[in-house]
């Protein structure tokens, strides 16, 4: 056997072969054996998951009721035949996938479907959320701070007797359909982080006509684009409403208008200079307190930006601590920077409280989403669990559930691309897998595939890639699937799929060329290559001609040398070199010339290419081609036992 390293040939893999054999010409869209016996939500009959006498674990994935039949933490991913997948012939996801999920290897076999005690809850949430997003185990539904030892953060009643808030104008616009978003106007209190922000219920007082507080607030801030957006919103609600004339009140007189203009462009230093100049000329004059307080806040904002850009996190925290009024929804950027600074200075509890403050107080949906995203990159996962309940709507819940895994996605991506080595904890992967089960995200399933592929759990990566390609037309998971099969020594199946789908992406075409090239040129321990059928060879030759692959042409050349058809071999090596001179192609030409004993040709090839391809230098003109002359570089591919001399060149092409 050629497979040395992948010791366990899983039953799922064997099954894959069975499937392929049973249905050699697959319709696009992965429809092996099962057609309509499995649909989303239906329990899979165990009988359908038996094939070829292999023991498989047929886990019904859409039926919470049978959750306890699943092996612990291991279930196959299953994408229902819905949405995009439906456009392809109905796949049989559950069936196929559950077979993949037998007890092989990693334990990170895609674990889709409810398998834990809260499975029923999960499915409820998923249903409520439009089918997306299994809810990870959330923390305290009250959003208790998981970083505080003694939980004292019960939602407090509206704080009374607090300092006057200059931002009372800033309120959640009444049209916000966001239950947990309170109309709290209280700034975040950095000094008493253990006190939960006020979560008064939304002020349901019937308003007569539009609520202009937000509009006036934005106008007072000279935030004109927000003024515009708010006017747009109000006009949608009250079509006959006209913007009041006094939006920009003439407080401060003409002189101050100049200063406000400077304020609008953030030129705070110039404002201070002008104020000094104007006061020198007219000691009676003073700017409005409105301007002075906003100027102060603006300057603090600037300091916070500078300090956080410089990574001076403790400075950021101290600036924030001395400017209470800064920490309100209108200064979202400052809130984010302060929260990051709190994390960076190991004040996780305070950071959590700040994020919670934003999610329970601020209304802008984009900012809320961004907040959750930023938190997900900074807070440990228990913090994210505790923030999840602050989603303001079912949609937002779905988004939060996905964002929660951003950090994990990043780490998995780093592992998959080889930037990092560390494997990731099982709990996290299991949760993520469960999430993907709900979200049916092809991108996530594909990421899972690459992660496992990098760790060489090929049967599991194949399962994820296959699931992904069932719900997405993106060729990437298909590539992953083919590469996984190839590494599972299912070259035939890999070749078949790659050939069929070679037009879906250049990468697949390339993989196809490589798979067959390898098959044509690799010897097993007995020095035999695995022959292609005449049909396979013909297909291959056509494909190689199609995309003008130098590598493919060489492989065909070597094949004909083995078959002692020198003239045909020469044609292919000539094509290879014509398309792109490579060492393998040129050496092939040299070998043909040597076999023909055309020493002049050989000499010409050597003199033309030996500077470029040093291997030619060792090519003894007077000797017939011999393996020993080439076998100086062993293949990187440790799985392969013995390589033909020519393979070392191919390997080099593959690997470089």
């Amino acid at each position: 056997m050629r497979s040395q390293r992948i010791v366990i040939l899983s039953s799922s893999v064997a099954l894959g072969v069975t499937l392929a054999n049973a249905n050699p010409v697959q319709a696009p869209g992965w429809t092996p054996l099962i057609t309509d016996s499995v649909i989303a939500g239906e329990q899979l009959s165990p009988a359908t998951s038996q094939s070829g006498g292999l023991t498989t674990v047929g886990v019904p994935v859409w039926a919470p009721a049978v959750a306890d039949s699943a092996p612990a933490g291991i279930q196959a991913p299953s994408f229902p035949a819905s949405g995009e997948a439906q456009s392809a012939p109905a796949p049989s996801p559950a069936d196929d996938w559950n077979r993949m999920a037998d007890a092989v290897s990693t334990g990170y076999v895609p674990s889709f479907g409810p398998s834990s005690d809260n499975a029923a809850d999960v499915s409820t949430v998923a249903a409520a959320a439009g089918g997306a997003g299994a809810q990870p185990q959330a923390g305290d539904p009250n959003g208790a701070n998981p970083f505080v030892d003694q939980v004292v953060s019960q939602p407090a009643p509206a704080l009374s007797g607090s300092t006057a808030n200059p931002f009372q104008l800033q309120a959640a616009p009444e049209a916000q359909p966001s239950p947990p978003v309170s109309t709290s106007t209280q700034p975040f209190d950095l000094g008493s982080a253990e006190t939960a922000p006020a979560q008064t219920p939304a002020n349901a007082d019937a308003q007569q006509g539009p609520d202009l507080r937000a509009l006036r607030y934005y106008a007072s801030q000279r935030n004109l684009v927000r003024v515009g957006a708010e006017i747009r919103r109000l006009k949608a609600l009250y079509p006959t409403w006209q913007v009041p004339d006094d939006l920009f009140s003439p407080v401060g007189g003409v002189e101050e208008q100049v200063l406000w203009n400077l304020y609008a462009v953030g030129n705070y230093g110039e404002i201070r200079r002008r104020i000094a100049t104007m006061q020198a000329a007219n000691p009676q004059w003073r700017p409005s307190s409105d301007l002075l307080s906003k100027l102060g806040l603006g300057e603090t904002r600037g300091r916070i930006i500078a300090a956080s850009n410089a990574g001076s996190w403790s400075q950021v925290v101290s600036y924030a601590a001395t400017s209470k009024d800064l920490l309100v929804c209108a200064n979202m950027d400052s809130l984010w920077r302060v929260a990051e600074a709190l994390v960076k200075t190991s004040k996780l509890a305070e950071a959590f409280d700040l994020y919670r403050y934003i999610l329970s107080t601020c209304a802008d949906p984009h900012e809320r989403l961004a907040t959750f995203q930023k938190a997900s990159l900074l807070l440990p996962s228990k913090g994210m669990d505790a923030l999840l309940p602050f989603a303001a709507s079912v949609d937002e819940q779905t988004s939060f559930a996905s964002i929660r895994f951003d950090q994990l996605r990043g780490r998995m991506g780093a592992v998959a691309s080889g930037e990092e080595q560390a494997e990731i904890g099982e709990d996290e992967l299991t949760q993520f897998a469960r999430f993907i089960d709900g979200s049916k995200s092809a991108a996530d399933a594909t990421l899972f595939g690459w992660y496992l592929y990098r760790l060489e759990y090929f049967e599991d990566s194949a399962a994820w890639f296959k699931a992904a390609s069932q719900v997405s037309k993106d060729p990437k998971p298909l590539e992953g699937y083919i590469l996984s099969l190839r590494n599972l020594d299912q070259a035939d199946k890999a070749q078949e799929i790659a050939f069929k789908d070679r037009n879906k992406s250049p990468e697949i075409a390339k993989i196809y060329i490589e798979i067959v090239a390898e098959q044509l040129t690799e010897e097993d321990r007995d020095g035999k290559t695995k022959p292609l059928t005449a049909e396979q060879l013909k297909q291959y030759e056509e494909a190689v001609d199609d995309i003008e692959s130098p590598l493919g042409a060489q492989a065909i050349g070597w094949h004909y040398i083995d078959a002692k058809e020198l003239a045909t071999a020469q044609e292919w090596f000539d094509k290879s070199v014509k398309w792109e001179p490579t060492e393998g192609g040129v050496v092939g030409q040299a070998v043909v010339a040597a076999r023909y004993k055309r020493m002049a040709d050989l000499q010409r090839i050597k003199s033309t290419y030996q500077d470029e391809f040093p291997a030619l230098k060792n090519f003894k003109v007077w000797k017939a081609y011999s393996k020993a002359n080439y076998n100086k570089k062993s293949s990187k591919r440790t799985k392969k036992v013995a390589a033909k001399p020519k393979k070392s060149f191919l390997a080099k092409l593959f690997d470089s």
Binding site: Y218, R222, N223, L224, V225, R226, V227, G228, A229, I231, R232, K235, Q242, V243, D245, L247, F248, N261, A264, V265, D364, P365, H366, E367, L369, A370, Q373, S402, I403, D406, R409, G410, G413, A416, S417, G418, S441, A443, D444, T446, L447, W450, Y453, R454, E456, K476, E479, G480, L483, R486, N487, E507, K510, I511, K636, R637, K639, F654, D655, S656
Partner: protein
């Protein structure tokens, strides 16, 4: 790994996919806004600064006078953003104070310090055209036949009094009086910045008399001809022979003509080649427009107010995908004229190139 090459490539592609699939906020300077919001918000500050309660747009560049151009711009913006109160106030003021001629055209200048306020009853055709355009937009927006008829009346009057035949076809004179052959040493004289191309485009077909389409065609060919010689147009152009700088005016690309690239960029049609001239000229000045002495071939001074810079952004946007610059996203009103051009540019952005303003529209 066994297949390093493909796996590396797919891994990289996959990483990119992960980043873009993250359900984060769109890349917006201001999330949740559309390009129109910039116009609407800026208009509020603009009217606070430049519009009196009784509907007069104040030109603080020129001793707080008003003119038909300013009224036209103000009404156009109000109709565009849907501010009907302001529109009606401006219209009422304009009709009361400026429509004092025998025809349906507006006296061009109103001075609060003069008595009577209007000393010269001549009109300015850019003001008339802008008022007609504003009325046309208002008639559509608020479904008003009255506004439409007023618009048609102005266009008819323009056709009767300010459009003449020339070797270059029908041309729009700057005013009813003073620019014809015989009234100028090198008449007829035109001001191409009065040919508001997007207005002509939208007004096409409204009046039987008014040759909007032909004016667009002739104006564009005049610009093409100038493009062949000097590049940019002067504010005032003589059509006595080959188009050339008019004798009685400075031979400058200046405060008038700066509107030509604005209108070309706003115009729905292929004006890219003409616009390249401006971009090329400004590129040597850090993309800042400048007053240019065509005769001397020298730049006089930069036009660095926000309104002019935003025109430069707009031109670059039409010629590529240049985004509205950050410093031009916050309206910092200085004086009437550049502030007005700023908002007009924002409208052009919002109507024609919202993608240069927000990443999602």
């Amino acid at each position: 790994m066994r297949q390093l090459l493909p796996s590396l490539m797919v891994a990289l592609a996959m990483l990119a996919a992960v980043q873009s699939s993250a359900a984060g906020p769109p890349v917006l300077a201001e999330p949740g806004v559309v390009a129109d919001d910039y116009v609407v918000g800026s208009w509020e500050l603009y009217r606070h600064r430049f519009l009196t309660k009784d509907g007069r747009v104040v030109d603080d560049d020129s001793g707080s006078v008003s003119h038909s151009e300013g009224q036209g711009y103000g009404m156009l913006i109000a109709a565009t953003v849907g501010d009907r109160d302001s529109f009606d106030r401006m219209l009422a003021w304009t009709e009361r104070e400026l429509f004092i001629r025998a025809d349906r055209l507006a006296a061009w200048r109103w001075d609060p310090a003069a008595s009577p306020h209007v000393l010269d009853k001549n009109n300015a055709t850019d003001g008339d055209l802008l008022i007609a355009w504003a009325l046309q937009r208002a008639s559509k927006r608020w479904d008003s036949e009255e506004y439409r008829q007023k618009s048609v009346a102005i266009l008819d009057a323009l056709a009767d009094t300010a459009i003449v035949d020339s070797p270059y076809g029908k041309v729009l004179l700057p005013g009813a009086e003073g620019f014809r052959e015989g009234e100028q040493p090198d008449g007829p004289v035109v001001n191409l910045s009065y040919w508001v191309f997007p207005a002509l485009q939208e007004l096409e077909g409204l009046s039987q008399k008014f040759p909007a389409e032909e004016l667009v065609r002739n104006g564009m060919s005049l610009l093409e001809m100038l493009d062949g010689s000097d590049g940019m147009p002067t504010d005032w152009t003589s059509l006595a022979g080959a188009p050339r700088p008019a004798r009685k005016f400075p031979a400058q690309f200046g405060y008038n003509a700066i509107r030509v690239p604005l209108y070309l960029a706003w115009f729905r049609g292929n004006t890219e080649r003409l616009l390249e001239t401006y971009r090329y000229s400004w590129a040597g000045n850090a993309n800042v427009p400048a007053v240019f002495d065509i005769a001397a071939g020298a730049q006089l001074h930069s036009l660095s107010d926000q309104g002019y810079l935003t025109i430069s952004d707009l031109v670059a946007c039409k010629l590529g995908s240049h985004a509205l610059a950050d410093q031009n996203r916050v309206f910092a009103p200085t004086t009437y004229y550049p502030s007005t051009l700023y908002i007009l540019s924002l409208i052009a952005f919002a109507e024609r190139y919202p993608k240069c303003v927000v990443s999602e529209s």
